[in-house]
Amino acid sequence: MNARYEQSEVEYQMSRSSEQTQCFAMQLQIDTFLDGDLVGEQQLAFLGHVAECVGCAHELRYAQHLYDSVLDLPKADCSDALVDNLVAISSQKRVQQHGGHEGHEEHRGKAGALAETSRQPSRVGFFAQLSQFFRDRLPLTIGFAAFSTLVIAVVIVMAPRVDNAPQPLVAEVTPDLSAENAAMIPAAFDAAEARMALEELNTAIDYLNRVSRQTEMMIGERFVVLPLQQSVNSSLRRASFSGNEDRQAGPI
């Protein structure tokens, strides 16, 4: 008696589970049915199930009602003032293709400002971003460049002069101009003027050579020797702070 009851209970649960699965499958097809994409045997099976199943019929009615309500939802529209503003923007000046917005300043409201700062639909290239970065920070960039130039100039002027300057790379004494060479000089300059000009040129080149050598030394000292020394010193300092007192603590 008990076994028969259990068997019928299992059958009941199985049939119920099967019905639930069928209902779930049918309810998944509601949207397809409402879109009109359910045809043929599938449509017949769906309608047949809905005719028999109260729950699915209720669900279909709800979905249909909601679907109709969504279709009837109002469409929003913007104000005419906004459209007038846009038309004014477009009629005033053509926007430059790459970031020129000068003509729009007076027409821009809150949204106009947003339009410029917001994301572009296409990805901006690296160089465009770089140029935009420098454009945005132009005063800062100019200030930094001026300051750097000033620092370099001060360092060059204050640097100790090297006394044991090597031989200049150009001739110090220009040989006398021969008669043939003198004949080649235009009449506007005489030989003495040309000689003086060449001597000045030699002096200038010599000075440039010296400056160049000093700069090389300075850069080498600043960017190679000093960092190396600092690196070694800091390594030694770390080693000394680690508690091992036997190690050498000072610089090399």
Partner: protein, 178 residues
């Protein structure tokens, strides 16, 4: 070009604003989005494929809404909500008047609470009646993905307890009347 731009605004303004309006409570915010989108349209006018103008606009609108919401989240949300409520109270547009219908109001709220891309797809397809091709283009999806998302969006909408409650109320009042 200027005339064509004006025509494009007239043609698409409703679609752009509707898409924004079903995400943002404030009509002023939706107007801001629309202005931003149309300014971008003007800026990119020479580069746009005008056969695909609508998908381009929808895509830009979709991105602009996401940006807007992201920016707003970074601000103090409580202050912002208060502003929204005030703005909402002040607006007397047709949209708000229609929202007085309770089911419509619940439906609009439920749509606003959907996640992306479900909301955009539902608004574009069911509210605005746009073609699958335009939606696919604007959201960069294929047809099968789009249909799956649309069906899922509708199921999510049906699962909203407020909506179901409203429907049951309407249903029971209809039964009573019979």
């Amino acid at each position: 070009m200027h005339i064509e731009f004006q025509q494009a605004i007239e043609k698409h303004r409703q679609r752009v604003v509707t898409l924004a309006r079903y995400r943002l409570r404030s009509a002023a915010d939706a107007d801001d989005i629309a202005q931003e989108v149309f300014v971008k349209l003007w800026q990119h006018w020479p580069k746009i494929d005008h056969d695909k103008q609508l998908p381009w606009l929808l895509r830009v609108t979709h991105n602009a809404i996401i940006d807007f919401v992201r920016r707003r989240k970074t601000r103090n949300e409580s202050i912002d909500d208060a502003v929204d409520v005030e703005a909402q109270a002040a607006e007397q547009s047709q949209f708000e008047a229609l929202e007085h219908n309770q089911l419509t109001a619940s439906l609009t709220d439920a749509i606003r609470q959907l996640d992306e891309p479900f909301r955009s797809i539902l608004v574009m397809r069911d509210v605005q009646g746009l073609s699958y091709a335009d939606i696919e283009e604007s959201l960069d999806m294929n047809a099968s993905q789009l249909k799956v998302y649309l069906h899922r969006a509708r199921r999510k909408l049906r699962a909203d307890p407020q909506l179901r409650l409203r429907f049951e109320e309407i249903n029971s009042s209809g039964d009573d009347a019979v």
